[in-house]
Symmetry: C2
Subunit: 230 residues, 2 copies
C-alpha cells in the first residue's frame, strides 16, 4: 500500500539501553554520533523503524547495525513521545533494554552515523543527545526495581562468580550497603545457586568459592511460588 501522508503521521524510532557490569561498575552501551548536528555527542544506539518491520525485530536490527551486538535478549521498556524530544521534528521512540555479559561481545558498528560504540559507567554518563538521559534513567529505575524481586543480576555476571562479586553487583547497582552474612544466608536459601568445585584464580586476596546460577531450578521454584526478594 502506498503511504499517503496525513496529520497523524509520526516518525518512529527505537532506542536500546544495554546494561553491562564490569570492573565493579554498571555500564551502559553508548555510541558516538558522527553527524554534524550531534558532533561529539554520545547517544543510545537507536535509529528509525522501517515500515515493514516489527518492533522487536527492529530493535535487534538497530542494535546490531550500531554496535555489532547480536542475540541480546531485548525487552520493551517504555515509549517516549514528547513533541519536542527530537530537534528534527516529531519522532516517537520505543525504548528497549537488555542486560548482557560485556565480555561475550565485541563492539563493531556497521553503519556510518555510529562513529564508535563504548561501554560507559552509569556514574559517568555525559549529557546525551535527544532525551536519552531520561531514557537511561527510566531503564535504571526498571533495573533497580526488578533486581529486588527477580534474580536478574546473574545476566550481568560471568557464568561463574563468587558471592562477593554477586554482593558487589547488588551494592553498586542499588547504591546500598548490604550486610555480608545476611546476604549470603539469604541468597543461598533460595536454592538456585550451585556451588562449584572451583575457586577463583589469579586474585590477590584469598581465592573464593565459585557458584553458578541455575536458571531452570529458579524457574521451577518460581512456578511453585517462592518469592525471590532481596
Amino acid at each position: 500500500m502506498k503511504h499517503k501522508p496525513t496529520d497523524y503521521d509520526n516518525t518512529f524510532s527505537i532506542d536500546n539501553v544495554i546494561f553491562g557490569f564490569d570492573e565493579g561498575s554498571l555500564k551502559v552501551l553508548l555510541i558516538e554520533r558522527a553527524e554534524e548536528a550531534f558532533i561529539g555527542k554520545m547517544a543510545l544506539p537507536g535509529n528509525l523503524v522501517r515500515h515493514d518491520e516489527n518492533l522487536d525485530l527492529g530493535a535487534s536490527r538497530i542494535l546490531y547495525e550500531l554496535t555489532g551486538l547480536k542475540d541480546a535478549h531485548l525487552e520493551q521498556l517504555y515509549t517516549f513521545g514528547d513533541i519536542n524530544r527530537h530537534p528534527l521534528g516529531r519522532v516517537i521512540t520505543v525504548a528497549y533494554y537488555s542486560l548482557i555479559r560485556i565480555k561475550k561481545y565485541k563492539l563493531q558498528p556497521k553503519i556510518s552515523f555510529a562513529k564508535r560504540a563504548a561501554w560507559i559507567p552509569v556514574a559517568e554518563i555525559p549529557q546525551l543527545a535527544f532525551d536519552h538521559n531520561v531514557i537511561v534513567e527510566k531503564a535504571l529505575d526498571r533495573l533497580r526495581g526488578k533486581l529486588r524481586y527477580k534474580p536478574i543480576g546473574f545476566e550481568l555476571l560471568s557464568e561463574k562468580f563468587s558471592l562477593s562479586q554477586l554482593q558487589d553487583l547488588y551494592e553498586s547497582i542499588l547504591l546500598i550497603a548490604i550486610d555480608k552474612r545476611n546476604f549470603r544466608k539469604k541468597i543461598l536459601s533460595y536454592d538456585f545457586l550451585i556451588a562449584l568445585n572451583e575457586k577463583q584464580k589469579d586474585v590477590s586476596h584469598r581465592a573464593a568459592k565459585l557458584y553458578r546460577f541455575d536458571k531452570k531450578r529458579y524457574e521451577l521454584l518460581d512456578k511453585k511460588g517462592i518469592n525471590f526478594e532481596l
Copy 2:
C-alpha cells in the same frame, strides 16, 4: 514544520485498557465501532495521536472523546507494532491502562465512530477489532502481576469496603481461592487499612465491618521498606 513523508513514516495511535470491578467481576471498558469496516465489532477506546500532542495527554484526550471518562490515572502499558495488526496499514499503538471505580463515571462518547461505550466482564470479552484481545491480555498480565506486590486493588473498590469484598476482588482477578482467615490476618498486618465505625447497609447477610485504604499510610510504610505481598 511541514511534514515530508518518508519510508520511515508510521501512523501512530493510542489504545486504553480501563479496568473496573462491579458485581463481583472484573470488567473492561469497550466501545462499539460505528464504521462499516468494523460493523458490530467492539474495540478498546483508541484513536490516532496528533502531531502536536504528547502521549500521556493524547491518551487522556482519546479516552475522554470515546467514552466521556475524565481524570482517570492512565499508565503506559506497552507498545504494539506488528506490521499486520491494523487492516488499513501500518499503525503502531501505545497502550495505556487504568484502574477505576466504575460508579464514579458516566459513559458518554463524544465522537461519532464510538457508537456506544460499555463495561464488559473480562470473562465475556468477544473477538475484538485489530489486536485488541492481545492488548487486553497484556494488561491483565500486568494487573495480575502488580496486584501481588502493590495494594492497587483498592483503586477498583468503593472507598468503604468489607474484607470479604476485598478478598472477592483478589480471588476473581487472580482466579485463585484464598483462605479467609489467612487473608484477613495478612492484609490487616500491613497496617494500611483503617477500620471504620460503620457496617454494610442493605445486605441480606450479616452486615460486615467496613474499612478504608489509607494511601498515605501505605506510602510511608512503603518508603520504610515494608514489602506488600499477597
